[in-house]
Symmetry: C2
DNA sequence: AATTTATACATAGATCAATGATGTATTAAT
DNA sequence: ATTAATACATCATTGATCTATGTATAAATT
């Protein structure tokens, strides 16, 4: 699959939706969760995820809590109030986009234009 | 919508699928067709379309026939045999991708990972 | 005990499809 | 006449993602 290009624009919404459902996640957990949920078809790379999380934080959509598991740090992310309202919009828009593309590539008996 | 990024990777497949259904189209016709079929939600820009068509031609997926309408040239594109077999694969992959993303962002009662 | 794999963070530079900007020219509409 | 629509084209810019690289701890394997 042309994953690299097709995925563009979807990562932020995927992250927000996961946080919306699970409340609190750390970066590595997100990569594994997306991998598992997509049956290995979507592999979010660290070089994509961490910058995306940092940007979501900078934009005020998520907040961070650091925790130590032994000597290893974990940075837990959760939605802010701003993030919670934004995720609704982002999900709606992405769903509409998916519907639009599906409509464009689905075979139909009628001519549309 | 974050159209600009979301659309990445979808244009070639959209073009191929249109040619597959309609047999023969010229560039400007494709832009208008996509606009109409998507109810104005997807606006393929000339700066995207023409380079994409040239690349599809270079890759042997489409062939070209020039026609003159008065003094104005039209370049009609149609699928080659190679293009016909490729479009099947491209459509399957894009459908699977759309399903995968939809699955990732759809709210579910069960936890997946 | 030593090595490998998994966990967990991070960043800088490269990639490449789509766009914006710009150009030329013909035809139709106002 | 002037503007809008039709119809092609190309080049530089953009920007999300990836590759490559780095550091470090914990668990599993040999």
């Amino acid at each position: 699959m042309n994953q690299k290009e097709l995925l563009k624009g979807t990562l932020n919404t995927i992250i927000l939706r996961l946080l919306s459902e699970r409340g609190r996640m750390y970066g590595y957990e997100i990569t594994q969760c997306v991998k598992n949920m997509s049956d290995g078809k979507v592999m979010v790379k660290e070089g994509s995820l961490y910058p995306a999380l940092h940007k979501l934080e900078a934009d005020g959509h998520v907040s961070v809590e650091e925790e130590y598991i032994g000597k290893r740090v974990r940075r837990y992310y959760k939605l802010t109030e701003k993030g919670k309202s934004h995720v609704e919009l982002a999900l709606t828009e992405l769903h509409q986009f998916l519907d639009t593309i599906r409509n464009l590539i689905s075979t139909k008996p009628w001519q549309t234009a």
